[in-house]
């Protein structure tokens, strides 16, 4: 008891001695409480029937009924599968691209050309999806865009890439790769530049070709980075790219383009169904977290690399 008191007194003394240091920390603490911890407790409205007039605390508890409602809502089931489908396509087609790009970039001999290619490839990352969306809406327009006009001059019916249910998702995946391939390759380029030069020298003595160097030295050496990026990618499987979809989708493609995040936005902030959409958001976070744990376990089992 006495010992506990002493340690408490010691701690209090520390706050008195270093009050000025702690004072520098207080604004951050207030910020975290107001803008992060308070909304975290706001999640309770997923278990309530939230009414704006009553506020968070006085609204009625409804247990898990928002979650059972969610499982029985056909529109939610549709957006859930849309999200998974778009994310998986992004992983299958999009995940290898920056790796391939980094490997090819690494094979360029001219450092200057490499620099120019890199600088150009990073450009879309610096622009918002409002701007990129505007560019693609104009560029892919069936009437005014270059692709549309080429197709009609060849006597074909121009495809409305952003307004056709069959074409919307492939367009989404390709423009997504277009936007991120350069930026996402940075981390792999760093990993490649960290590979020991001695390995390549030893391989040269053994008469390895460039292709063999890539397959047997470079790729195995960057595998830890690839694994970590893959786990992080699987963790984001329920984030199918809100910014991009929100700026490209429209009524005509709603049935294939609507994802959990756009659904939460519309149900919550447009239709003001606060409790239900909070439940959807919570469900999404829990499932996403489970995906990280599962992928990590899987990666550790089969490749000895993992996040933890």
């Amino acid at each position: 008891m006495n010992k506990q008191n002493d340690s408490l007194r010691f701690q209090l003394q520390q706050y008195l001695i270093h009050w000025d240091l702690f004072l520098l920390f207080i604004p951050l603490l207030l910020y975290l409480i107001i803008f992060h911890y308070k909304p975290m407790f706001g999640i309770v409205i997923a278990f309530k029937d939230f009414k704006l007039t009553y506020g968070v605390w006085d609204s009625e508890w409804v247990g898990l009924s928002n979650f059972t409602k969610l499982m029985r809502t056909p529109s939610f089931i549709r957006v859930f599968f849309n999200t998974i489908k778009i994310s998986l396509l992004r992983i299958i087609f999009g995940f290898p691209m920056p790796i391939l790009f980094a490997l090819l970039l690494n094979e360029l001999h001219s450092a200057r050309y490499k620099k120019v290619v890199q600088t150009i490839s990073y450009l879309p990352h610096f622009l918002s999806w409002v701007i990129l969306g505007g560019i693609f809406i104009s560029f892919l327009s069936p009437t005014n865009g270059p692709i549309g006009s080429i197709m009609s001059s060849m006597g074909l019916t121009p495809i409305y890439f952003l307004g056709n249910k069959n074409w919307f998702v492939p367009t989404l995946i390709i423009t997504g790769i277009w936007q991120s391939v350069g930026w996402n390759s940075i981390i792999y380029l760093a990993a490649i530049s960290g590979v020991s030069q001695e390995l390549y020298e030893a391989a040269e003595i053994d008469g390895a070709t460039r292709f063999q160097n890539v397959i047997y030295i470079t790729i195995p050496s960057i595998m830890p980075t690839v694994t970590i990026m893959f786990i992080l990618g699987m963790g984001g499987i329920l984030n199918a790219g809100f910014d991009q979809i929100f700026n490209l989708y429209n009524e005509a493609v709603m049935s294939v383009a609507d994802i959990i995040d756009t659904y939460v936005y519309r149900r919550g902030l447009v239709e003001m169904d606060y409790s239900f959409s909070t439940a959807v958001g919570l469900f999404k976070n829990v499932v996403g977290f489970a995906f990280v744990l599962a992928t990590n376990a899987f990666a550790r089992r089969f490749s000895e690399y993992g996040l933890w």
């Binding site: 520390q14 409205i45 600088t119 610096f126 270059p146 080429i150 070709t209």
Partner: protein, 292 residues
């Protein structure tokens, strides 16, 4: 590197160079096409195919867009949020990173965990929106600055950087009678310029490009930042400007050209600084990945 003289290797090099060139063209061409349409006089006809130049050069589309007050309002709001937002973020991020970097901070481990938790768990869209609403920040410029004031990720990067500076700096400053505030602002901040440059550029470009927060928190048309104004013109097509054009003389002004000119009016500032700032961004991503 290896077998440079091998024929197969040379063919590969050539293909690689051509492929990278094509890749760059595929990145740049949509930007170029949109630019050319915005510089084309619609009365001379639409651009067709892979046209490289406008049919009839004109700046009329830009004049039209610039004559509209919404755009100027948007510029003002974006500049306000970018300048004040970046300054506030840098002030709070550096001071708290300095405090968290010192072993003397009482209960440092505990407070570090408190700082890290929001990186992994968040309330989500609706609770955050209701929080801002309950604070009475709807339609206030503060709603675009305060909720994202400190990025935990940037805070940790900066704390790690400050921790690499020699401890003796703070000790000798203390002996010379300096308190924590003067040590932080006079000694630590001037020594952290490289990381400060990176983080402030991230914040700055982030503010310039931000749009979703304004969509949910701002209803007042006079406080819409540029990105939201652009979104209205390009995506919703419901802007007053287009309605006016439709009503007045739809024949001579071609909405796509107007849309494309608006896209460039919002993008030019970023395009101008991009070549100079991109290397700081790359540096930053590498610092983050090494520590994380």
């Amino acid at each position: 590197m290896v077998n440079k003289n091998n024929i197969g290797s040379r063919i590969f090099d050539l293909c690689n160079i051509v492929m990278m060139f094509t890749f760059c063209l595929s990145i740049l061409y949509p930007f170029w096409n949109v630019l050319m349409v915005s510089l084309n006089d619609p009365s001379a006809g639409n651009l067709t195919g892979l046209s490289l130049l406008p049919k009839k050069f004109t700046l009329e589309n830009y004049k039209n867009v610039l004559s509209y007050p919404e755009i100027w309002n948007g510029y003002r709001e974006t500049i306000i949020r970018t300048v004040f937002g970046t300054c506030a973020t840098m002030l709070f991020t550096t001071t708290s990173a300095y405090a968290l970097a010192q072993h003397d901070l009482p209960n440092r481990k505990f407070w570090t965990v408190i700082v890290l938790i929001p990186m992994f768990f968040s309330g989500g869209l609706i609770p955050s929106y209701l929080n801002v609403k309950s604070l009475g920040l709807i339609d206030s410029r503060m709603s675009l600055i305060l909720p994202g004031l400190v990025s935990i990720y940037n805070l940790i990067i900066m704390r790690n950087y400050i921790m690499t500076l020699p401890k003796e700096l703070r000790e000798s400053a203390w002996i010379d009678g300096s308190n924590e505030f003067t040590t932080c602002f006079r000694i630590i901040i001037p020594l952290s310029v490289p990381i400060l440059a990176t983080v402030s550029l991230w914040t700055l470009v982030g503010h310039w490009n931000a749009w979703f927060d304004a969509i949910i928190y701002i209803n007042d048309a006079n406080k819409m930042p540029l990105q939201v104004v652009l979104r209205r013109i390009v995506m919703e097509g419901s802007s007053q400007m287009l309605n006016q054009i439709k009503a007045e003389d739809f024949g001579s002004i071609y909405p796509t050209a107007i849309k494309n000119a608006s896209i460039y009016i919002c993008t030019i500032p970023i395009l101008c600084v991009y070549p100079f700032i991109q290397k700081y961004f790359v540096k930053g991503i590498l610092i983050g990945s090494l520590k994380g």
